[in-house]
């Protein structure tokens, strides 16, 4: 097993994702060992984006399964196209087909709707399968998912067992709204993504918004880094930093201390709750700007 995680980090950077060494290692291991990777971290640190970047590096498809409460096997594996089946039954009434023939007909692949998990294992080349926000799904679904992730085959009673054509590279993300089961954790490799440090965030900003002025970029990153140390209910993530930077570029601000009123108004890009906005009145903003300018 040759693990060149430095090369992987460089490849990811080439497609616009600046990964830390620990994340690059985790991805390299997940690919090398063919094990799912569980990513945890605050909202907005780029967990979902990892999958996109990885798919781009590996030049393969990204298949995404967004989890939510009440998600079940039907919505994730396959579903029969019931409406079409009913229509087919009606349409064939005149043909006097035997019951067996009819059944065989309506339970064929043409009437099968493939959902993300089945889709992911029936690809000729291994795709990247992103199972996003697994903590939002129910615990029963977690157990079901584990079965799929260990066997990589799906049994459909009417069709038989469909084995995986290739093992997808699985990335699971969790925001920690629910504790995940130990069994799932043990099945996966684990990596925790923290907010980026100043240098990394600056690199991300430059990679994503190539037109940004160097001075403004530095000020933005320092401001956000300071802001994360304040007692906020929802700390701004990288996505918020990028939004804010784009907004400031749109406002044509060259520097943060240029237009205090516009700056204060633009904070809605960073702070997403009323309490957080209130906790950052103009004086506080000015103090922070004074520190970074």
């Amino acid at each position: 097993m040759k693990l060149d995680y430095h090369a992987l980090a460089a490849d990811l950077a080439a497609v616009g994702y600046i990964a830390e060494a620990s994340l690059a290692m985790a991805l390299a291991l997940a690919i090398g060992l063919e094990r799912p990777l569980l990513l945890e971290g605050e909202a907005g640190v780029g967990k979902t984006d990892v999958a996109r970047a990885l798919a781009e590096v590996l030049k393969t498809r990204l298949i995404r399964l967004q989890c939510y409460e009440g998600l079940d096997a039907n919505a994730t594996l396959y579903e029969w196209n019931y409406q079409r089946q009913l229509l087919a039954i009606r349409a064939h009434e005149r043909d006097h087909l035997s019951a067996d023939a009819l059944e065989h007909h309506i339970f064929s692949e043409a009437y099968l709707l493939r959902r993300p998990l089945l889709e992911a294992i029936s690809q000729p080349t291994p795709p990247v399968l992103l199972i996003d926000e697994i903590d939002r799904a129910d615990e029963e679904f977690e157990a079901f998912l584990m079965e799929i992730l260990s066997d990589f085959q799906v049994t459909i009673p009417e069709l038989g067992t469909i084995a995986a054509q290739s093992i997808p590279r699985v990335i699971l993300t969790s925001n920690g709204t629910r504790a995940l089961s130990d069994a799932l954790r043990r099945r996966c490799l684990y990596s925790y993504l923290d907010f980026p440090d100043e240098a990394k965030e600056l690199a991300i900003l430059r990679a994503r918004l190539p037109g940004i002025g160097e001075r403004l970029a530095q000020q933005i990153v320092r401001f956000v880094q300071l802001l994360r140390r304040e007692a906020l209910e929802k700390k701004p993530g990288i996505a918020e930093t990028l939004d804010w930077a784009a907004a400031l570029m749109g406002l044509d601000l060259q520097s943060l201390d240029r237009d205090p009123a516009a700056l204060q108004a633009s904070l809605i890009c960073l702070l997403k709750t009323e309490a957080d906005l209130k906790s950052l009145p103009r004086e506080v903003t000015e103090r922070l700007v004074g520190k970074v300018a």
Partner: protein, 379 residues
């Protein structure tokens, strides 16, 4: 076993002692990784093993320190983390639960002086079973009382489980059509949907979060409350417990330990500084920041056991309780002092907290703990 394999096995054992769940599969994969990785430098080994062997955020954050401690004999070797079976700083409150030989084991670093001083305190009143239920817990010390407290806790848990089973409704009153089952059922009728089958989402269980004050002022009660918590945790799947004095400590795993001696041993090591001052607001703040999102939802009941003597300003406490209430369904505050005659919640912190409390109850006798059963069962 050869050099690297033996060393790695030692490292895995070291991690297990520190609460990591590492199975043989993981250790084998780790060994394969070490054997095959090239070039193998410390950074590669550290990152690789960290990814493969840690399972959650807490372990992820502790890994580096443990790695350094094992391979380089440096870094933070705190008694609680690096030598979990050691004896340093065992609070006197556990001493009566432990056999004398464990107590006389050599004391490492911090704990000795404090232990000797406080071992002399604490009432040792022999208790009779018949008066047990009604006596104030601070007067009881024998092992039988702890068993009794656990029994009360078990009854409480059972009452709550019963409530849940009663609320489950049959699926034919479901709110959505189950097309898949409807079609299959009606195949025999030419595909005409005669029987409509429905589905409904099952009820989700209540989840409990216990926050236990183990500061000096609560000393005489905390062992019973811990035993009570142990009963709830052990028998209730969806429950978590924390201790706090000046810091907040997650103790669910230690409470789930089957062997009571080991449980107490682990707890005592975790609860360093046991019996010191109280920072209720501070503890709640760290709970809200770190755990609340993961553990609380609209089905959560938070049970806070404290006497309300807080060294943090009361405004902070009411702010944190407000945050807590936004995520949880109900807040129950158990205050042992409430059972005392003439007690009024005048402690400033207690007064600040009152608006957020849904149920304020005493917890100074086993009878009063038992009386909670009715209170919680109708949540």
């Amino acid at each position: 076993m050869t050099g690297p394999a033996a060393a790695l096995r030692g490292f895995v054992a070291h991690l297990r002692l520190n609460g990591f769940t590492v199975g043989p599969g993981e250790s084998q994969a780790a060994l394969a990784f070490i054997a095959a990785a090239e070039p193998l430098d410390v950074a590669t080994a550290r990152l690789g093993l960290k990814t493969m062997l840690s399972g959650d955020r807490g372990q992820w954050e502790r890994f580096d320190a443990l790695f350094d401690a094992y391979w380089f004999r440096r870094g933070v070797r705190t008694a609680a983390r690096a030598t979990p079976r050691g004896d340093s700083g065992r609070p006197a409150i556990w001493s009566k639960l432990l056999p004398p030989d464990a107590e006389s084991a050599p004391q490492a670093s911090t704990g000795g002086a404090r232990d000797d001083k406080s071992a002399a305190q604490g009432p040792l009143v022999a208790s009779r079973r018949e008066t047990l239920a009604r006596s104030d817990l601070r007067r009881l010390t024998s092992a039988a009382d702890i068993e009794e407290a656990e029994r009360v806790a078990e009854r409480l848990a059972r009452a709550m489980r019963y409530r849940l089973s009663r609320r489950r409704l049959p699926a034919h009153a479901g709110d959505a059509l189950d097309l898949r089952r409807t079609i299959r059922r009606n195949l025999a009728k030419g595909g005409e949907p005669f029987d409509l089958l429905k589905k409904r989402r099952p009820e989700h269980p209540v989840n409990l979060v216990l926050l236990l004050d183990v500061s000096g002022s609560m000393r005489v009660y905390s062992r019973y409350l811990l035993a009570f918590a142990r009963g709830l945790i052990g028998r209730w799947v969806k429950a978590d417990a924390f201790c706090f004095h000046t810091r907040l400590i997650h103790i669910s795993d230690a409470l789930r330990e089957r062997d009571p001696l080991r449980a107490m041993d682990r707890l005592s090591l975790m609860v360093e500084g046991f019996g010191g001052g109280t920072r209720i607001a501070g503890a709640l703040q760290s709970f809200n920041a770190r755990y609340a999102r993961e553990m609380l939802n609209s089905r959560s009941v938070v049970i806070l056991m404290s006497d309300g003597y807080d060294t943090d300003p009361p405004e902070e406490l009411s702010l944190e309780l407000q945050r807590l209430k936004r995520r949880a369904r109900r807040l129950v505050w158990l205050n042992p002092l409430l059972g005392w005659r003439d007690y009024a919640p005048v402690a400033r912190a207690m007064a600040a907290a009152m608006p957020y409390i849904d149920c304020f109850a005493a917890a100074n006798t086993l009878e009063s703990l038992g009386a909670l059963e009715a209170e919680l069962a109708r949540l």
